[in-house]
Symmetry: C2
Subunit: 208 residues, 2 copies
Amino acid sequence: MSTIFSDRGADRRRAILDLAEQHFARFGYHGAALSAIAREAGLRNPSLLHHFPSKSKLYLAVLEDIATDLEARTAAALSGPQRPGARLSAFIAANVAWMRARPHAFRVIQRELLDNSERVAQAQILPLSRFVRALEALIVEAQHAGEVAAGPPAAKLSLVLGALAYAQAVRPTLAQMFATALLCDETTWMAAAVREVEMALGLVRRRR
Amino acid sequence: MSTIFSDRGADRRRAILDLAEQHFARFGYHGAALSAIAREAGLRNPSLLHHFPSKSKLYLAVLEDIATDLEARTAAALSGPQRPGARLSAFIAANVAWMRARPHAFRVIQRELLDNSERVAQAQILPLSRFVRALEALIVEAQHAGEVAAGPPAAKLSLVLGALAYAQAVRPTLAQMFATALLCDETTWMAAAVREVEMALGLVRRRR
DNA sequence: GTCTATAAAATGATAGAC
DNA sequence: GTCTATCATTTTATAGAC
């Protein structure tokens, strides 16, 4: 048994989760190898399987961990602003900040969308579902306040998430193709992406 | 040796390519198994490797095949319209039509973006690079004609591709979360996505 | 071109000592 | 909790007969 404070077992669990997240992000579910994750954690294969009884359980734990964090970080951003438009902007900013703070986690989620849309669809990862619903509520709210253009909320939600995710994921590729100053700096690039999204929503005025 | 007309060898090659595309789309590079592809083609493992000497070569062939098709289909859409805005719309429509006509191919490309952004970035798949450059040229062209709002073309390009790809990829997930009529029918849904994108570009007037 | 047989390596997982 | 040893399976790829 271990105490609650400074729990070595929990620390190791945490370390394995972080390493697993990295490997699943880089190689995908099938491409990631338990032995490699274990080795980097300073363990052998069976020791890792002592903490997480199977590869799929480990993967699900990583997914839960990521989704919970994403939901918490974006929900926290809503505590400040009051006006619907500002709340929506804050949510978007928090989403982008999260993508940049945890690039591996972001990549795992993107993969999951392709690998296992059924699992996401059935919302077996509840926090992720709550994240999406929160964004939809914000869009509807801002539309009622006249701060976002009319139109189906689901379509707008898809545009927001798609444009932001793509901007983040595809930056290295575009940087190679177009050597513009915009793409050189990640901060500037993602700010431009956010600006385009907010213009699309009608949150900011269009340049003439 | 085989003749150019009605070449049985080429037919088999084609069949393998199509099946491989399906498997890579569903399971990813690591998840796809040569034996499974061979079996569905009515062959054994070594016979498949007679046509494509290794798994990675087969994968590259699939990628080349996909990228070439995408470039051809979107480039063909430009032969009709003259005005920059109409040309951009035609390109977008062709892109969406292609995604729906070849869902497996679309999924392979999305995976490739995550798995191997280096390969895409280095434009080892030349047709894909030409596709992206064509879209950028159209955006610049439409901006000069005053039909698309000002702003960095790369950012607008990323928004267009990201929003459309996401709409297509994530539809099953959103359909599960929000049971709206919009999401029930793929045609209606993708039309809504296109409309949002064109509104974002300024190609169509915003509803008030 | 297709097959059988087989190699060579890696993987996820279990048994059981300490 | 971590280890060694091992299993069972799967995977890509080769050798060589037909």
